[in-house]
Symmetry: C2
Subunit: 444 residues, 2 copies
């Protein structure tokens, strides 16, 4: 009998790795354990399902357990790994559907257990009408609850990507929504001056935004905050996620930022024959050089692919993250990559920043929409450190250009000289990124 790879976690990272390993090692036995009912789904699509733009949860599933089984990957859904013996090389697995527990031996192990929504231990955060939105199971529960009870007033606790996307989705369903965020502004991954543009767009469609406000406790009819009670018969948690690394840490694996598992560029843990990938791992920020915890599907897929190649005897590396993220909230596209001004200062850089207003297309074209770009550079070297964008259609993905520029180590004058595409319906003659770079250059 050949070797067995055990994959814990049947979503982006785990199944990317399993697929790579399957392709490269036809003789390998691959068992994948997944707690939920679904494999390889788009968690980022949940808000669009919640808003009704995507009709069925099945539309969010990229590959089903049956798809994987057809490729000889033994996927076991509704199973959970409850403990791990790394010396004996076996896992204790609990069958959630039938309540049975068994031991599963492995030769190689990939931990891809993902993350869970942060749920404070304050009173009421575990009530049934308080929903996380991380898994398809969560989404299914949330929408079932909305349909069953027809809630009138929702509070979204935390103004990050998923929280704001859900706030918009619930508004589209006719629920009156208040977002409370303890920080100085919503969208804490942006500098507050850029985050305020997002808050403005949210208020424009009728969402109440309360920043500098901490949710303290929850009961059936309200959320108690540092600024008083807010009536709410539905609560959504948007406080971010934490890595599902507990049982791996108990088994002796090293953890770092936010308790995430520490891996090297090949996605190896510090124990031989054990890899980790996706939301349960930390990454290296390529701009600051520091370890960071970034739980995003893009990163999970890339890390899973790299782990799968290495597990099956190939060689690949995951270079690290730039902190790139995009979304669309209340008709505004939002993008960021690299470091914000605050992050850059925290990381010890002397920074110069410029914020400009431009248009997404030539100003005389009907496609033209306003866009605000904030660009941050290092004083002296003029090296690009990061970009934040808020604007109309066609704005957000412009951060990818900055991401490539960060990866290539370009300086601000390189961006000014960069040969970018121009056509009146698609871009002004100087792309908004270059307008920002030119303004920044005068400040350098």
């Amino acid at each position: 009998m050949g070797e067995r790879l055990l994959v814990i976690g049947g979503n982006a990272a785990g199944m990317s790795a399993a697929s790579q390993a399957r392709r490269r090692m036809p003789g390998l036995e691959i068992v994948a354990i997944e707690k939920g009912r679904w494999t390889s789904y788009s968690g980022c699509g949940i808000p669009y399902f919640a808003a009704g733009a995507v009709h069925g949860l099945d539309d969010l599933v990229v590959r089903t357990p049956e798809n994987f089984r057809a490729a000889r990957i033994d996927v076991r859904t509704e199973h959970e790994v409850t403990s791990l013996d790394v010396e004996a090389r076996r896992a204790e697995v609990h069958n959630l559907a039938h309540g049975r527990t068994f031991q599963l031996a492995f030769d190689m192990l990939l931990i891809a257990t993902g993350s869970s929504p942060i749920r404070p231990d304050s009173p009421g955060f575990d009530l049934p009408h308080v929903h996380g939105v991380q898994t398809l199971g969560d989404a299914s529960d949330l929408i079932a609850d909305v349909k069953r009870r027809n809630p009138k007033k929702a509070v979204v606790v935390g103004g990050g990507y998923i929280g704001l996307e859900l706030a918009e989705a619930l508004t589209a369903r006719g629920v009156a929504v208040t977002v409370v965020d303890a920080g100085p502004e919503v969208m804490g991954t942006l500098d507050p001056d850029m985050g305020s543009l997002v808050a403005k767009a949210m208020r424009a469609i009728g969402i109440t935004v309360q920043v500098g406000t901490k949710a303290e406790s929850i009961d059936e009819i309200s959320v108690q905050t540092s600024a008083g009670a807010i009536p709410a018969d539905l609560v959504v948690l948007g406080l971010g996620v934490q890595p599902n690394s507990g049982f791996a840490a108990s088994a002796g694996l090293r953890t770092g930022v936010s308790g995430a598992l520490v891996v090297d560029r090949q996605q190896r843990t510090d124990l031989p024959g054990i890899w980790a990938a996706g939301d349960c791992c930390q990454s290296i920020d390529l701009v600051s050089g520091r370890p960071v915890y970034v739980a995003l599907g893009t990163v999970a897929n890339k890390q899973g692919r790299v782990a799968g190649i290495n597990i099956s005897g190939g060689y690949a590396t995951f270079p690290g993250v730039l902190g790139t993220a995009v979304t669309r909230i209340c008709h505004q596209e939002i993008g960021r990559t690299g470091l914000t001004e605050h992050e850059a200062r925290d990381a010890g850089f002397s920074t110069v920043a410029a914020t400009i207003e431009a248009t997404t297309a030539a100003s005389y074209m009907p496609e033209s929409a306003p866009v605000t770009v904030k660009m941050v550079a290092e004083l002296g070297s003029a090296r690009l450190l990061g970009v934040q964008i808020v604007g109309g259609r066609g704005s957000a993905k412009r951060v990818d250009v900055a991401a490539a520029a960060l990866a290539g180590g370009l300086a601000i004058d390189d961006l000014v000289g960069l040969d970018m595409g121009y056509a009146p319906p698609l871009s002004p003659l100087w792309d908004p990124l270059q307008v920002a770079a030119r303004t920044l250059l005068t400040k350098l």
Copy 2:
């Protein structure tokens, strides 16, 4: 009396330079000579004016002669430089409105005379109903002619950007349009396999496309081609442009590719105190290292800015071009950067190419549209050489990411690992560029 800068040409390059010089040297006398009636306009906006999407030609003017005069730049429209004495440092200027000729002395000279549509010397190409579309004057003449005569059948000679944009614009005005192109496919700046996707989109809105067909002569009612006569009461020239470098060459300035003026990275000609910028100049292709002739507004503006900084005692360089270009034709966005497969082979590279089909957004989202990406790399080094894209909304400007990657010297595996933005309405989890890079990686 202080020094005088003479700028020949009042559009993108010339006026960018004049503006930079004005800002940096308040005491400099600046005279700008412009043949037409307009300054600093968006020539690329002409097709949208022709289609009726932009209502007035004035909308295309970025800055008027009055704007420049208010900034103490002495703009003289409807004036033409007829000859140049570089030793004596003076130009002969003809006032087109009043028919007078005078001598204008200069201390420093910027040649920014732009380009003119290529007009073959075959019979009939100079008839009144045969229109070039390079200047606002050309656009004004074309639309006046269309409104006056209400032509029924048009032939566009040449299937490049401007030709295809005009073909679409005339179709929108109810004219039956045939495009004839002597090459194997329209849009010769793409490889033919990608160009055929553009031809397909054109045929879908009723445009007749005849490739491998040379226009040989024109009379009032038809265009004679290598494939027979095509009825036409309106003809548009889309055969590209040639540099307006004749009088400068006569004065002793060095010319290179396509007869364009040779300049260094600071936009200096080989004669002291004489700079050149924009469509009258050649550029260096950053991928092949070869001199090329690229007549685009983006390049002209950048070169003008660089010339203006250097003229006024600063230091700036124009790094070269990547051949980036984008447009939208018949609901398809088109982008390219770097070298096509054919260009790369011509330049001596051993190439590997991959063409993939993906979507612009997550496939389950209503915003999702098909997109085709062709990516070319160097065999061995895996260095990115170029990208071509044809697809729905949000496709074209993705070439800017490849442009930044080319500028940073990234290889294909760097692109696979690049931290690009993902959100269901804006992008699939693996951006189409990365899907292409992954496919290409398996071929390398």
